[in-house]
Symmetry: C2
Subunit: 79 residues, 2 copies
């Protein structure tokens, strides 16, 4: 089954990459962009077919590797 | 209004970052991960309140800055 993980910087953590994008959009003439946050999306194709087990496994992957939980939050979606 | 953009490498384009994640997950003992693709997610807070105009504007941002449409595809979601 497929899993999609979103990893975003937590609120309150400075996001220089997002800030750079916001600034660049302004320079290109896109007004009205109030804030930009940039994160990662990771799509996994898993052999596991049981949704509960897959979710548990993907959460463990996030805790151990995919997200730095000190400054990042993650969300798991299963298809 | 809020917009979320997903930018992923197109199918067929090599994704060394995703491949590195897959390999690292295998090393950590996570079996059964068949493939991994990594992309970007960009969350925008827009002053625009009209959904159609906001979508058009975000698509223009993707074409001009957020995605490299030669190798990347993008998807826009509005909240």
């Amino acid at each position: 089954m497929k899993a999609r993980v979103h990893v975003m910087l937590k609120n309150g953590v400075l996001d220089p990459q997002g800030e750079a994008v916001r600034h660049a959009l302004g320079s290109l003439g896109f007004d009205g962009v109030e804030s930009v946050r940039q994160g990662k999306v990771i799509e996994l194709e898993l052999a596991e077919t049981d949704a509960a087990k897959a979710e548990e496994s993907v959460k463990a992957m996030c805790e151990k590797l995919l997200a730095n939980t000190v400054i990042e939050s993650y969300a798991v979606e299963l298809d």
